[in-house]
Subunit: 524 residues, 2 copies
Amino acid sequence: MEDNLLSEQEGSGTRRGRGAGGGAAARRAARSGGGPGVQQTYINRKIKVYDVLDEEGLALIEKNAEIVLEEVGIEFRDDAEALALWKQAGADVKGERVHFPKGLCRSLLKTAPSIYTQHARNAARSVQIGGNATVFAPVYGPPFVRDLDGNRRYATIEDFNNFVKLAYMAPSIHHSGGTVCEPVDVPVNKRHLDMIYAHMRYSDKPFMGSVTAPERAEDTIAMCKILFGEKFVDENTVLTSLINANSPMVFDETMLGALKVYARNNQACIVTPFILAGAMSPVTVAGTLTQVLAEVLAGASFTQLIRPGAPVIFGTFASSISMQSGAPTFGTPEPSLVSYGAAQLARRLGLPFRTGGSLCASKVPDAQAAYESANTLNSTVLAGTNFVLHAAGWLEGGLASCYEKFMMDIDQLGMQQKFCEGVDLSENGQAMDAIRQVGPGSHYLGCDHTQANFQSAFYRSSIADNNSYEQWLAEGQKSAPQRANELARRWLESYEAPHLDEGIDEALKDFIAKRKESMPDAFT
Amino acid sequence: MEDNLLSEQEGSGTRRGRGAGGGAAARRAARSGGGPGVQQTYINRKIKVYDVLDEEGLALIEKNAEIVLEEVGIEFRDDAEALALWKQAGADVKGERVHFPKGLCRSLLKTAPSIYTQHARNAARSVQIGGNATVFAPVYGPPFVRDLDGNRRYATIEDFNNFVKLAYMAPSIHHSGGTVCEPVDVPVNKRHLDMIYAHMRYSDKPFMGSVTAPERAEDTIAMCKILFGEKFVDENTVLTSLINANSPMVFDETMLGALKVYARNNQACIVTPFILAGAMSPVTVAGTLTQVLAEVLAGASFTQLIRPGAPVIFGTFASSISMQSGAPTFGTPEPSLVSYGAAQLARRLGLPFRTGGSLCASKVPDAQAAYESANTLNSTVLAGTNFVLHAAGWLEGGLASCYEKFMMDIDQLGMQQKFCEGVDLSENGQAMDAIRQVGPGSHYLGCDHTQANFQSAFYRSSIADNNSYEQWLAEGQKSAPQRANELARRWLESYEAPHLDEGIDEALKDFIAKRKESMPDAFT
């Protein structure tokens, strides 16, 4: 009975998914086994969120954050416009230090949406940000890669394109992300053009804009207008971009410049205190949460001064430092508590929330990397996080994008997506007929209910080896990263770009060429 | 400022812990760095549990379980006494199949305690089972070990003793467990004597009894009476032992025999349906939960027929099978949902709960092992599990006990213990003085609050390498298992046995010698 069942299903590489579309290439790959499988839309969580603070604790932290905003204040550096806007809004501005009357920021944030749609050029890939939605996006920012030959080296634009391609193919990645690695072979002043182009050309998922200078943000908007059409960009959100606070309690000119460009264009910003607790915030969870809330209240409400109604995400990047070496640590209990607590504060503010991902400090995709990433990801998902940056590929405290880890992480993301469906309590889910049919001392392998639910029953890992020790030996004693390496190579070989209108492609290339021409060559 | 702070603390190997005692050896090792650190008592969870079912879902599964108990029934095989007891209690017995009138099992379980204390010979190591307590115990059952030389081979009594020693030294392991591996170099009929002796001699933490035959359970009780005194054992619970159901819906002679011995002696049993969903239970979560509840209701209430008031734990071992190969899989979404749901059902029954651990299917302590283990452990802890078997050392679907994975897992257990303390909302936790002192644009590394909270601030991993890439290179590019290997060797070298009264030790040895003499030599 088992033999029949198993042999019947051997070679079926289809993974269940409730995705819209997926593309002929993906379906072909899925049928042939080892392919990426059917694309999944963003997660619509059917499960509860997990809370670590009660009403009293939340109210206490909110009260303390208002004290920080009023008494200590937040600095908006080298930005006269920002200071003028804050003065006009009723804040007490002393030099570059802004002191906020109690409740001002919270009140300004009433115009920010709780939920917005970020559109993709393929409408089936548009994502909801906020509410019960969770969106996974790849690693952001690493200057290095750990490549498929086991080298750790500076990242190139080829690596960048590769990660965009892998994220495009990954069924459990809903968003193409932003700086999936830093293409350091392209001059820093021109780099953003090639990065934005890669997201537009090699993927059809939504993506993030450049934030390293206001004019690069403007370039991003201009390219979006070519891709989506000017009217569409005016009326819709097509970008979600990352604005970090310089914790503690500072926003600098660069980040404010990009924030203003995006908010003015009704595009979304993630305002994120980048916290290594113990260095950029107090060593305690409650102290860190207080500062995070104060910084987000100031930065996020500033978007509403620029343009009321512009979408803005409550961001938190939580890590602790090692008290021995000062190095950042990941996957430990304290950042998890911060993430859970910050998610609660964001919900009370009515803002979408970003934290976590698959973070780790390990230099290689080993057990340390996996323990730390899984700890971070589990708390990220149960916190009810809406936008998850660094969901795949992060290694070495964010200094390296790792191909093998990317492939392992997306498998974990698929598991989380299945988990978020919760418990099916339908008649089929209850399975009473199966229990009656099988009875004591028999087994369920061949029963009608098992046969009927075969495809959708359990998550099927693309990385895990569940075979016997003997079979694993016979197959070459491969570790998980080795299997991930093979999978990444297969995917990159079979990659097919999504269709892009030739006229649009030409227009994008023209824009990039002209912009590059206007820039000095070796400017960094 | 940072330099002062860091150099001042360099070389401090003490890990925070609120443990009672810890032993001079542990303290010495902790001071010298790299030692196990201060022993921690069982976890007293300050955090909430996570639920996946609402009232309606729970009531549905409870109703369905009662239907299974009444209509399908549970088999009690080769045990005339059990069948007679059930008949007497009002069940409808047909052959070996017992059909339970609605509510009978639940009503019998009213005499079972929600919380009990399992005593250790060192009173500071006694554990609370139930309520907000969580107790971590090592892996149980593997016939193989993956040793410190990288060999996978049959386990020996030396391995057994080693794992008992490591569990004794591990600050985050609260319980010595049972069959930490199968010492296959000792004849199967004599093995239990050496195993129980190892727990008594090489550790002072609580432990589990033999369940492979009623007379071995009797031997365990007899040895406990030597160790604790006859009166103490009569009046207290000193054993928590593992009774698996033969799912679906069968209890066999062996397990029933051991259960009866322990329950009669007022010792605790964990009644656990051992479920590979899709084979031993339906392929759905709700169907599996229904069967698990029915089996536990039957098995656990049977302990109350033997002796009302005997402690009994609601056990669940949740795994799914691969629908491709039939192999068990771990760390996937479905077993997590089963664990969360079963924990809720146990709480409603008022029984302590056991599930999960650090489970994985990987053959080596690689990223697969870590992802799967972390996924399992996170759901185990958030479910509010009271007794966590397999919390450290489990590899290869439970076929191998792995030294390296043991060391990595106990580090993860320490993190969970810290997480369970929740968010400190005291004035010190709020850290408002720190935020005021530091202000915008500075850092917290040297501020008074950081100095004052230095030791207790963050969990300090014994395995993770958080250093720079360059430093990691210079130190030999070690992976997490390599660091774990070195740590295990150091611990085993520095192990010192806890004091045991010589007279008791002699009495135990005499008992074992006499029992072994009475047994055939090569009996298996």
